[in-house]
């Protein structure tokens, strides 16, 4: 599903933000990505959803070396990845319906099929009433859920979420987490960056620890690749 081989990242001529990343995520696995603010969580996710190229090393997604893709192939690959951005990135002048329908429109879904799908997704995140609202009229937590609905509407096989519980209280955070667990159960690979460690404990899924730009086991030594494969059995339920 995801494979990083000796990946480094730096912005411009700055220092290495990420170093020696070497890991693999099995299809259907569920991982948290934890670490202090500024550790590079968002940066790692950016590499994961093809929002950034590594300055060194190789990243493979769905079995393909992403550096070898042309622009159109990258676009098609990105359609299999649902992203929930740290700042949501909803389009301000579009209604909730238009925002959530966007990935379907982009992938050429017939206009007639959009309404039902969007309604289903909004009901799933508990915001069926907000379909015609503009994002700015919604609370942070509601926008968060709209962003989740948009990320999953085209049934991606990989979901990447950056602090999806950053703006909500613990109760809502747990509810959101259960949405991700539900997606994971249906076979989707999930990666969630968060600094809410108590949440991680309560969900009981493995975590990648990022510190100083490298991945560590909670114990302290750099994480060997194999340690991340514990969710392997789920690989049989991956979405088509």
């Amino acid at each position: 599903m995801v494979r990083f081989e000796d990946v480094y990242l730096r912005y411009g001529r700055g220092p290495d933000i990420l170093q020696r990343l070497d890991f693999r995520l099995e299809p259907g696995s569920f991982h948290f990505l934890v670490g202090p603010s500024g550790a590079g969580k968002s940066s790692l996710l950016k590499l994961l959803y093809l929002g950034q190229r590594p300055s060194q090393g190789r990243i493979s997604l769905f079995g393909r070396d992403v550096s070898k893709l042309d622009r159109d192939e990258r676009a098609l690959l990105r359609r299999r990845i649902g992203v929930i951005f740290q700042d949501f990135r909803l389009i301000a002048h579009l209604s909730v319906f238009e925002n959530v329908a966007l990935p379907l429109r982009i992938s050429g879904e017939p206009e007639g099929r959009l309404r039902a799908k969007v309604e289903e997704l909004l009901a799933w995140v508990g915001l069926a009433d907000c379909i015609n609202a503009l994002p700015a009229t919604l609370s942070g937590g509601q926008q968060q859920r709209i962003a989740i609905a948009r990320a999953v509407i085209s049934r991606p096989s990989l979901i990447v979420a950056d602090e999806p519980t950053g703006n909500v209280d613990d109760r809502i955070a747990m509810r959101l987490m259960h949405l991700f667990v539900e997606l994971h159960r249906s076979g989707t690979t999930v990666v969630i960056a968060t600094h809410n460690e108590s949440l991680v404990e309560r969900i009981g899924k493995p975590a990648l620890h990022l510190s100083g730009g490298s991945l560590y086991q909670p114990g302290g030594t750099p994480l060997p690749e194999e340690a991340l494969d514990e969710e392997g059995p789920h690989s049989r339920e991956v979405n088509p």
Binding site: R78, V83, I91, E98, I106
Partner: protein, 299 residues
Amino acid sequence: MISLRRRPRDLPLSRDASARFLPWLIAFMVYLAAIALASALAAQKIADRWDQDLSGRITIQVPHAALSDAGNPAESADIDALVDYLLEVPAVSGVDVLDRQRSAELVEPWLGDLAGQAELPIPQLITLELREDLSLPEGFEARIEALAPGAQVDDHQRWIGGLLDFAQSIQTVALLVVLLVGAAAVITVIFVTRTGLAIHRQMIELLHLIGARDRYVAAQFQGHAFRLGLGGGLIGLLAAVATLLGLERLVDRQPTALLPDLSLGYMDWALLLFLPLFTALVALLTARFTVLRTLARLT
């Protein structure tokens, strides 16, 4: 390729400043192009008409002073002899001696009532129809000079040639104007599109991250450009049509001898009506090409 869906565009392009000024700029350009095109078409028409009317004809002009009886040229002996000679020339298929009345009518637009007055020294005009298959005999002009001293033989070639050159240069200039205006429009659309790409960079990045291909982004810009082009084009065309109809009216009120019929034919109007659509298509293609090229340069 052109989507006219009512749903809001992902990129709020219609709120950019360009959406406000571009249609007027395009309207102005289409106006210029339409007027230039109409001039070219009219010039072509005039040239064709004159060419048709005047080739195959010769006019002989006998000065008033040379006429033996200035008031009554028909009785003048050397005019009769001249006409007799002309009728014998094989290449001449017809001879038309303009009487005083018709000559006066011809100059009336310039001279008004004065033209009818007998003492006016109006030259005697003789028009010859020529056969296309035969040429005039050697010494034709010398013979005429002998029969009517001071007579001028005018085969209109110089005049027609000059007119055709003039019509052609009008057309060249008009074509140049159309090309320049077109180039200016293309450059404007390129500039506006690049600005739009810069303004909406973040949102375009988002569309890409959601899986949009470059052509999806291009479609937004090209649809926008098409609409602005069409809107501006229609405004420009409307103004141009108003101007041309006004001009046509003006020409119709003038004495016909001075200005030939300038009115455009159906095909000419059709060509002009096609301008806004053509402009919109050029805008569309320019925007599309600009977006695709700019995005392809990104890594």
